[in-house]
Amino acid sequence: MIINHPLLGPRDAQEFTYLGDAALIDRPDGLSYPTPDAAMDAMHDYLYQRSNPAGEHRELWYHEQGDRSWLVVTRNTVTHEITRVELARDVARMRGRSK
């Protein structure tokens, strides 16, 4: 596969390491819950539950053998067609993450 890196252009996916669903960006704040159980519920859903769609999938790839950018790649899991590639850092900020 070829991932069209937003900064470097087309690169062989072999240079990247795959993590999984881009929802892993949306990490809950473990201290923001009324009880430890509630925090565990939220963290459990975050870490273990997956939509795993047959079709469009937003997912995290790390350019390990390249510039070490984490990317959010929008890819069809049935055809492998890639329709969008973004820097994960930008996506994280768009989702309201900061420090």
Partner: protein, 416 residues
Amino acid sequence: MRYSGFRVIREALTGHKGWGPAWRDATPQASYDYIIVGGGGHGLATAYYLAKEFKQARIAVVEKGWIGGGNVGRNTTIIRSNYLLDGNEPFYEFSLKLWEGLEQDFNYNAMVSQRGIINLFHTDAQRDAYTRRGNAMILHGADAELLNRDQVRAMYPFLNFDNARFPIKGALMQRRGGTVRHDAVAWGYARGASDRGVDIIQNCEVTGFRREGGRVTGIETSRGFIGAKKIGVAVAGSSSKVMAAADMRLPMESHVLQAFVSEGLKPVIDGVMTYGAGHFYVSQSDKGGLVFGGDIDGYNSYAQRGNMPVVEDVAEGGMSLMPMIGRARLLRSWGGIMDMSMDGSPIIDKTDIDGLYFNGGWCYGGFKATPASGWCFAHLLATGNPHPTATAYRFDRFRKGLMIDEKGQGAQPNLH
């Protein structure tokens, strides 16, 4: 119709006119007591044991395409019970015992062949881990041996012992491990189930579950609604898709695993071998092809095909382990979809919806599990309780911190 050597001879002399269909092609009835969604190995085995061992009736298996067309028809045919953890080992040993009696049980020669499996190790840490595992296996009543380098060499002299980047130091061996003719497993279960009155319905795709007050009452299919008291889903490769129709998210991702077969060769590799320093495992089929594979491609996929990096990675492992295969030719590659769970172990459990049961998340260990998976799923469906060897395969183990993580990779499906 019972198969036997005499029968084969008689048919041969009379032009094979007497052979009937191996299984009936059934058309859906209005309703059943049990519907098994998925006509793969696990689904067919479930129906077979429901009828034969748990004396249940009014059972149907519905299959989207043709039976045995999923991973049971597309794998590297290995059976073994060389697991480490308490949650797994009893189940896989139960499965191996079922394999050992399978052909006589369902009167079909699936060519269960216990020619032994060895896991090579190349470091002291791997040796320690295999020692721990071998002991765990024996504690669970399985067989295990630790071979030293010379014992491995005597067994497979053509391995790379003298010019290796990662020298072979020994191996964990399970003599009762081996291979099975994978397609025949599906056909044998289908035939056995069909003979016991199970309706096998091909080309019937499930499009939804009908629910009334928190319990399932049947399935919507491409061939209309079919009612059911209990529904068991065993659709490896499509688990998330099918369960989404019941509004469930699963702790798993679907990944593609490629596997390969070489041209037919005279016998050279007797048993099954896994390489401890690369992603490569191999056996040789009765037909002569080297059947081998390695790692999954590593990204979510339903495409049933992979890409070159893994093909090359596997070949590099093979060439570094047994440089003689440089002149053997790869004949065919294929890709199957693995439901990779979050700890690398499966789920056989009730769902929160009454009457709906789930069997999946087998990663790439599903084939060897087929008999026990069918038996244990049938047990759960028929009795409502998990089979003693499958009590750990629960949905809530992740929430409770009771993961069954053989590889110690954590919630990273593509590393299991």
